[in-house]
């Protein structure tokens, strides 16, 4: 049975207008029980609901903000910002070198509390010609991201809604820890939507699907997360992570983008690579990207190099 994350089930949004939908506690509990996850079912059964059994949206929002704040601690400790800049820096260098005029727009899909966007804004790591935008379907998380950015006077913005329906086109789409929320067919659609947009590239980081990942996730969430929901979902995420093969397969379906994996399983130490990205770049950007990466470009594999490495 596929792993379910509690945080995916306790909120629901109308995809057409972004409005929040009521979630019945009993339905979520039943779904988790049917999936054989009694612990998660008990956690949800303990969440506050009104007399009709609908989960209290305010309590759910507070819980998710709290869990995402704890989750940010993991991103800080694992230096996710630096990890992304290691690749996004050369990617933007390649875009500039290929003659695409700025300013450029980096859109973080499913940004949550917007840690990456706010960190990039605070460090100015990508340069002043890169506009930073975070997008999420969860209004409470986006609102909190916006509040935090204002509190620190950061030059970035956050939008509640669909990342593919923004009034201005993205230059590069990014995400961290989002891909495992999609099934493989949905993942294919996700990459296709980006290939069909005017974006020049995408770069999505997600948990590296190694044998160590669920053990590492258990240990880290146990050591660092206080709320049992965060601990539960952290391990479920690692179990749901897509393999290198399925990521590359899904990205390859996005025609017009060259699919690439950076630091896949065979090219990286699993202890050093907790998250690794799948990229899609317009074909003319691959050579300048490899040049900008220098020696580390050997870690960047396309489908044919990946297949060769597998043999």
């Amino acid at each position: 049975m596929p792993e379910l994350e509690i945080s995916d089930l306790i909120t629901a949004v109308d995809p057409d207008n972004g409005r929040r939908l009521p979630v019945r506690r009993a339905a979520v509990v039943e779904q988790l029980r049917a999936n054989g996850d009694g612990r998660a079912a008990r956690l949800v059964a303990g969440l506050p609901a009104d007399q009709d059994g609908v989960l209290d949206p305010g309590a759910v929002d507070r819980l998710l903000i709290s869990v995402h704040t704890e989750l940010q601690r993991l991103s800080e400790e694992l230096r996710i910002g630096e990890r992304l800049v290691h690749l996004l820096g050369p990617l933007l260098t390649a875009i500039r070198a290929a003659g695409h005029a700025g300013p450029y727009r980096l859109v973080d899909i499913g940004c949550g509390l917007g840690y990456l966007v706010r960190w990039l804004a605070a460090t100015n790591a990508l340069g002043p010609d890169v506009e930073l935008v975070g997008v999420d379907l969860d209004a409470a998380l986006v609102g909190e991201a916006d509040r935090l950015a204002h509190a620190e006077g950061l030059r970035c913005r956050f939008v509640h809604g669909n990342a593919f329906a923004l009034p201005e086109a993205a230059t590069v789409y990014v995400s961290t820890g989002v891909l495992h929320h999609f099934s493989e067919p949905a993942l294919t659609e996700f990459f296709r939507a980006q290939a069909d947009s005017p974006a020049l590239a995408f770069c999505h980081y997600d948990i590296a699907a190694t044998g160590l990942a669920p053990i590492g996730a258990w240990m880290f969430h146990r050591a660092r997360m206080r709320h049992p929901l965060g601990r539960h979902d952290g391990v479920a995420s690692a179990r749901r992570a897509h393999s290198d093969e399925s990521l590359l397969r899904a990205a390859a379906a996005a025609s017009g983008m060259r699919p690439l994996l950076y630091e896949p399983r065979r090219a990286a130490n699993p202890f050093c690579t907790t998250l690794r990205p799948v990229l899609g770049v317009r074909p003319h950007l691959e050579v300048p990207l490899r040049q900008a990466l220098g020696r580390t470009s050997r870690r960047l594999l396309g489908p044919e190099q990946f297949a060769q490495a597998a043999r």
Binding site: R83, E152, A223, N269
Partner: protein, 170 residues
């Protein structure tokens, strides 16, 4: 040499780290060096007060002993046995921390994954090993009582600071 001073120093440093951990994950701002420092100082303060309990217990045991010199020697032996496993643990933490801060992000991930993360998780085990060390080194029941109190104190600083100042997300 009395092991009391290094044990107190270790306890206070641990309390400062506990204060930091109590705050970590409660504030999603990017720039929070000052808040980190404040949390560490709060941990230090709480730890200093709580560590008075095992220190006073040790003093009480010495004052009420029929043979204070012998009781002191027994406690000192227990203290040394207690200190040894904690020194190994503290060295592993310091090396992991140094690797985390000095090395580039890949290696720092390694320091986190095989060092700092598991080391946080095994803190109760480190305390239990220290208590065992106190017994094995001839510290007797008195050392075990003081050691167990000190260990419980060290482990309670983080939840105490968290409950007092950082229960809610900021």
């Amino acid at each position: 040499m009395t092991p009391a001073l290094p044990l107190v120093a270790l306890g206070l440093v641990d309390a400062a780290f506990s204060g930091f951990r109590a705050y970590a994950g409660r504030d999603a701002r990017i720039r929070k060096h000052r808040a980190n420092l404040r949390a560490a100082l709060r941990g230090l303060g709480v730890g200093a007060v709580l560590l008075l309990a095992p220190a006073l217990t040790a003093v009480l045991l010495l004052l009420t002993a029929a043979d204070p010199a012998r009781a002191y020697a027994t406690l000192a032996a227990g203290g040394l046995g207690y200190l040894l496993p904690l020194t190994v643990y503290a060295t592993a933490v310091l090396l992991s921390l140094a690797a985390y801060f000095v090395l580039p992000f890949r290696a720092s991930t390694l320091a986190m994954v095989i060092g700092l993360g598991p080391l946080t998780l095994i803190r109760p085990l480190a305390v239990a090993t220290a208590c065992l060390g106190a017994l094995l080194n001839g510290g007797g029941p008195a050392s075990l009582v003081v050691g167990a109190m000190a260990g419980a104190t060290a482990l309670s600083v983080e939840p105490a600071v968290h409950r007092r100042w950082y229960r809610h997300v900021r």
